[in-house]
Symmetry: C2
Subunit: 659 residues, 2 copies
């Protein structure tokens, strides 16, 4: 048809990228996948001794900031360290009870891990310690196979082994640069999951607040409420009164501190004050004889080594590994989110993979020194931040304070009532239920809200694992759905510009007679090529119907805007081929606009480009429309409507260049 | 800073879409997800009686084309129907043996299901029958729990139940418009899977070709070869010679037919010819007494009803359901792919969901009339197509031919040697190993090649299910990886145009001094927001380094081109917020270009728009660059280089409008 001679000549053709050697492009993908932040950049062009020092500094950031440490920092870190120690001691004991472990482990866990983190961690604000959710998870997962009351030694060994595997898993994620695993816990998942876990933990505290002796081992709300209401005659009013008073006290101090951030120390000191007051009360009233349960004797002395307690040959090894991985990921997610939030506040950078190594190593070290799983809890780190900490030295101060407690002060906790510890836990947990975040999710993104509610309901009505799996599955479903059901829309010309945009988004955009312009807003993969084929042919049918009823010129060109098609696979290529054949059959011409590098590579390699014709592939939608109009005018009588602005593809209205 | 007064005024602002009522937008998404082809379109505006007729025609397409049927069609369909019957009889018997079912079932299965399909199916070329892969799968999956030799009745019942569930599952997929499940078996998966299954089926035939009595129940290549070579002394040369001769005969006829498509009937008739020759040979030489196994007595008469054989109360019910679903999906994938290929050849449209209902119903009906799983096998349909079939009447002709065989001719198959059936299977299977497609995959798309090889190795070294799961998992991994590790690249100005494109793709594109333009080529979700944050800050670091070493003007603006960002969730929104804070800290300005409707909606709802500033969101990259340049020139001394063409955003070089 002599097309070549009458051809429309655009300024610039769509380039076909030169084929790259496979090894090179594969290496590039690997680099982009695993080293987005290019951690070796600072090593480049350095002499070897400097590289070694930088390497040490990478793993031990204390070598970097240590030499710059001064007295002013120390004063700030002393204050904040002592403040968090006063929070760490009662919280540590409480959470150890929650994990069904001996209370002293809570103190041990606030001694060794903070020291390791102070050397290896890169956050200046993170305060290390045990967390309620991980403690609960350990109790519920290990409790399924081993009863902590009947086999305390085995249970303890399993807890250490779990901690060991959690640490190894965390450190390996960091070393293998697989930190993105944590990203799969989206913000919405964490909001719902934390609120669910907090609810479950609060429900568990009913045991101590009501002074019950027997309690269910399940964590779901139905089992717990059944267990509570089946023994109403066992409720102890003394315990309830004590618990509620301390809870009220803790909540009121938090309320004050929230309204006046300078009074942060009131709420930070409140738990220790409660413990002291509670212990004195029990000591003087002998309330332990009236149904108020107390901690009892705590062993004096520092952490005993526990390397030999790690059980690798036990039949419960799989359980320990599974528990370690799940609790490890959750602890990591919390620790990293907390570190990153405060780093953003204070304008410094945190390397997620490096943090994972630090948190992992501190857990491995902890598992050998009678500690269980630790991370950077939000509440404690917030107190640390508010108390004005400057560096990780505040963790060292806390550690020393806990050490002194372990060596000399443990007998003081003998009469501490358990119900006070429960009040401390409940008060801390209530702060984790972030209903405002849930409302925000609902207003911004309904799907994220569903994820959040799924995580919450899964945890509360099922178990912690069910909630987690449910939320991650729904989140992933969304990602897959984006690909499986990609959006397609028609484009129209924005008046007085050569720009083409979604006609739904820009109602003023006008469509071009005889030309249907479609945009595909996702990569074309096997999972959506069938859908796209059907959807595109429906767009054409609908356009045909519309044109027939409006008696306008018939449809002649279909332009596919490929700008948002980031990738295409072989199924997608055959789909393009099929669409081309389909359009040929209907006497329509297929035109591609703005295909990216990946698409051009594949279209070339698969020879689909020869079927479409390289002269029908354009750099912009404007050029494609220009070419189509050129052909329409050349071979057809010109349409009556004025569409001059559509003819030149980007000169626009030249009087309008107020740039 | 009095910015508002000195503001740059673009032609058109990015619009913020009006908020839609939740119910409406949710309804819209549902429609786009489940009804891409809008199947109810033809019902619109029709009177009720017409709608009922259209409804009947939807489920029974024969009502639509039946009235137009003429004698010319019948002649063509008669020829093709008889041709496929001659293929269907030996193949049916062979595949039934492969499924460890009585050979007569293969004939039964070519009688009832084709009749159902002829009424309900919309393909004109599909020839219905049993397939090797599904037969093998039934044998290997059911065989794990029930031994077909020891418990033949139970095994038969399970096969019928499996067929019933496969049919129900297939029909429900169609009715619930979940046809996209089949799309998850990508082209690459099917190529690898089919080749693997063909290899496995060929290996299984070694039993009959070598004349072995004992054989392994496993299907993987290691077990089969071990079984074969552990009993070399049992090999029967008579059997081997017979098998190889017939195989050679079959392959040579296919070779001829391939070179001259008009001689298709030679290869179509070859299997029946082999059966006849083989049977005569055995009958006259009494070879059955010399180690050549024969089919033996086949019951005369039509399909007995088998509704009462369906076992819903059995302890193997889960197995039957599981086998039904897996074989159902695979059979569906083959049937639909085959139907679609031929429809494309002959330029008519096939509705995938409607086909699923037809195939499902024919299997439900089959399971009640002593048939096992059927679909539209490629080989048989290709013969049908080559023989010049016009409509599904060719299936009816085949069905009648099989009926006559069942009623009168079954005794003729008494002396048919099994080794001939094996040759027929091997010859058919060798055609399924499409190594050219695998080579094409390697050259076009390495990832698809990996998927293909995974499917093949999984089937050959593991089992059919392992291969399938592996291939689908790797395919999905790619989809997820696209989101988890999105591509980002810098954009540059294409000389003499206002267009900005990937600098890697267009080496002539020039970057703009002081401005970094980045494009994000994927939606921003929780799964990639962490990665994008790191990657974008690395881009900025690298740009900074480059500018410092070149002594050029310092970086002042970062433009994010959001054209390819099809969606964003709450994690993505907080990432944008973090990037904004990050850039503020470094004294850089964040500018957005061309955000789509979804992004604008979310950015508005979450109030991130207020942080970025609506005046810093532009319709095109060109406008964004124009605005940045305007600010740069206003508040900084103008750079020395000539960059006039960058200043006006799309007027370009006005002398160049050869549109």
């Amino acid at each position: 048809m002599g097309y070549a001679e009458n051809q429309y000549h655009p300024h610039q053709r769509v380039e076909i990228p030169l084929p790259q050697p496979f090894v090179k492009s594969f290496g590039n993908s690997l680099k982009e996948t695993f080293f987005p932040d290019d951690p070796l950049r600072q090593f480049k062009g350095q002499p070897w001794p400097r590289r070694v020092l930088l390497g040490f500094q990478y793993f031990f950031p204390i070598l970097e900031w240590g030499p710059r440490y001064n007295l002013q920092f120390l004063r700030a870190d002393l204050v904040s360290g002592i403040t968090i120690a006063s929070l760490a001691i009662p919280q540590g004991i409480s959470y150890a009870k929650l994990a069904n472990l001996p209370p002293i482990l809570g103190l041990y866990s606030s001694f060794v891990p903070p020291l390791i983190y102070a050397m290896m961690g890169s956050s200046r604000d993170l305060a290390v310690g045990t967390v309620a959710v991980a403690s609960l998870l350990i109790a519920s997962m290990l409790g399924k196979e081993v009863n902590p009351v009947e086999q305390p030694k085995l249970y303890l060994q399993l807890a250490f082994t779990t901690t060991f595997f959690a640490g190894v898993f965390q450190a390996s994620l960091g070393l293998l640069r697989l930190g993105f695993v944590v990203d799969f816990l989206s913000h919405a998942t964490i909001v719902g999951f934390m609120a669910g876990a907090a609810t479950v933990v609060c429900l568990q505290q009913l045991k101590w607040i009501l002074g019950l002796q027997k309690f269910t081992h399940e964590t779901d709300v139905v089992s717990v409420l059944r267990s509570v209401f089946s023994q109403t005659h066992q409720w102890r009013w003394e315990s309830v009164v004590l618990g509620c008073s301390f809870l009220f006290f803790l909540l009121i101090t938090r309320f004050f501190s929230k309204r006046r951030p300078r009074l942060f120390w009131i709420s930070a000191m409140a738990p220790l004050t409660s413990v002291v007051l509670g212990s004195l009360l029990v000591y003087f009233t002998h309330a332990e004889r009236h149904g108020i349960q107390v901690i009892g004797a705590l062993k004096k002395g520092l952490n005993p080594p526990s390397l030999t307690e790690l059980e690798f040959g036990s039949s419960h090894l799989t359980l320990a590994i599974k528990t370690g991985i799940i609790t490890g990921v959750i602890a990591l997610a919390e620790g990293i989110a907390v570190g990153r939030s405060f780093a953003m506040f204070k304008n410094y950078h945190i390397d997620g993979n490096k943090e994972m190594i630090a948190i992992g190593m501190m857990n491995v070290a902890g598992s050998c020194t009678s500690c269980y799983l630790t991370t950077g809890p939000f509440s404690r780190s917030a107190v640390n931040f508010n108390a004005g900490c400057k560096t990780a030295v505040s963790n060292i101060v806390m550690s020393v304070a806990v050490m002194i407690t372990l060596m000399f002060l443990t007998p003081l906790f003998h009469y501490t009532p358990l119900v006070v510890l429960s009040s401390i836990i409940v008060a801390a947990m209530l702060g984790l239920i972030d209903y405002e975040a849930a409302i925000h999710l609902w207003s911004v993104d309904k799907f994220d809200f569903v994820v959040c509610i799924a995580a919450y309901s899964g945890v509360v009505f099922g178990s912690v694992e069910i909630g987690l799996v449910l939320a991650v599955a729904i989140s992933l479903l969304r990602v897959v759905l984006f690909i499986v059901r990609p959006r397609t829309f028609t484009l129209g010309n924005i008046p007085e510009t050569p720009v083409y945009r979604n006609t739904e988004h820009y109602p003023t955009a006008v469509s071009v007679p005889g030309i249907l312009i479609l945009e595909i807003a996702a990569p074309i993969y096997f999972a959506n090529s069938g859908y796209l084929r059907e959807r595109i042919s429906r767009w054409i049918d609908e356009e045909d119907d519309k044109l027939q009823s409006s008696q306008g010129p018939s449809l002649q060109y279909v332009i596919l805007n490929m700008a948002a098609v980031g990738a295409i696979d072989t199924s997608g290529l055959s789909m393009l081929d099929e669409i081309k054949k389909n359009l040929d059959r209907r006497g329509l011409k297929l035109v591609l606009a703005n295909p990216g590098m990946e698409v051009m590579k594949k279209v070339k390699k698969s020879k689909v480009i020869e079927k479409i014709g390289q002269e029908w592939i354009f750099l912009t939608v404007g050029e494609a429309v220009g070419a189509c109009n050129y052909m329409l005018h050349k071979f057809n009588p010109p349409p009556t409507k004025n569409e001059d602005h559509l003819q030149d593809n980007w000169s626009g209205n030249n009087n309008n260049n107020n740039v």
